[in-house]
Symmetry: C2
Subunit: 234 residues, 2 copies
């Protein structure tokens, strides 16, 4: 790795930004968040988002970022929040035209993968970057960004069960399982782009279809189940 092969420095210097008028200092905050997302889009990679790169993209000194975010962690958390809202909106929009609960789940699955492939940088910061505590450590999960999108999925699963399209089970467990499947598809496609994958469409359909079909079938003999069965929480 030559030093020159570092994360590509994106020359986004639109010149100096004009200083906000008095009382309008908050406008920089929004510009910073927008710039961070632009960097994610342009590079498709989280590494492109550094305090200095964001400051340069906005046309401001690095120190100015600290007027609105206590540290880089806080900035990234705020960006995550924005991205999660986009992500949730994309899934909700896709599911809006569903004809039945299974179609709903299919649409969500396809929209999920599509979002990840179309927004690799964004997908990376919300689902491929280890969140080890940081500033969200004390926030209960239900209040973290992303919780809403997850709740929507659980509800969709529950509707499918209520309609008899899926066998009754722990909707939370089933939703988590579906999430993991589509995440697996998305993240491997992003991480190993040169593997000879089947077409994305075929892959998503195959995986989701198999999963849903397995979830629709009547309970089979408890092959491979843990000793006492059920789905104990950790």
């Amino acid at each position: 790795m030559a030093p020159a092969a570092r994360p590509p420095t994106i020359p986004t210097d639109p010149g100096r930004r004009v200083r906000s008028r008095r009382g309008e200092g908050e406008s920089l905050r929004e510009e910073v968040l927008a710039a961070a997302e632009r960097l994610l889009v342009a590079a498709g990679n989280e590494d492109a988002v550094s305090i200095r790169a964001v400051a340069a993209a906005v046309g401001v000194s690095p120190a100015a970022i600290y007027l609105h975010f206590p540290d880089k962690d806080a900035l990234m958390s705020a960006v995550c929040g924005r991205v999660f809202r986009m992500f949730d909106a994309a899934l909700e929009e896709a599911a809006a035209g569903a004809t039945d609960p299974i179609d709903d789940l299919f649409r969500r699955a396809r929209a999920y993968v599509r979002f990840g492939l179309a927004n690799p940088g964004q997908y990376q910061i919300i689902f491929l970057t280890k969140k080890e505590g940081g500033r969200l450590a004390d926030v209960p999960w239900e209040e973290r960004p992303g919780a809403e999108a997850y709740a929507h999925l659980v509800a969709a699963v529950q509707r499918a069960m209520d309609a008899g399209a899926l066998r009754p089970d722990d909707a939370d467990l089933v939703a988590t399982g579906l999430w993991m499947c589509v995440h697996g598809v998305t993240s491997l496609l992003l991480t190993l782009p040169s593997f000879p994958w089947p077409s994305v469409e075929a892959l998503v359909c195959h995986v989701v279809q198999a999963q849903l079909r397995g979830l629709a079938a009547p309970p089979a003999p408890a092959r491979g189940r843990p000793p006492r069965g059920g789905s104990p929480r950790a």
Copy 2:
């Protein structure tokens, strides 16, 4: 992020290494690879593996690494090769006692997730780090590290189909789908450790069981399949 919160510098300075005797220079190469893996284990994180950290762990100057590896990319590739061999061995060993082809697939799935959770650093460099060309760009997939493990999975799927335990289908597509499911489980568990997951055992069983059951059932109406069906390669 305070500068002090950088990737934890692991104080592995076992003092100076004694210089190899003439003609035995190659021994350093193995020591370097072993040290890189030790760093992965200790930190559970790829970031801990830098040329300088490895050199320090071996007890040698950073420049000495370049006597055996042209650059960092080459070192990481070599580490990947080692890890893939361990990974494949773990899966083969787990599958060895299988009583039937479905049990075989279950055992592989469990061993896969177990490997990832027990070796997060190693899992990260083989499956969670983007391989965008680098020195493996020209190597055909069949010769890359990891190809063997994948081939073993495809063979196991084929055996299950031959035995009638899975409906006949493209074994490659089915294997890829299973891989993606277990990868999804493993990588989300590693990446979002603070999410309120169900127990790992329950999760793996649920996902794999649903998937295999869906793959065993007779073909359903082509709900959600791409226009012309089939599984076209990209």
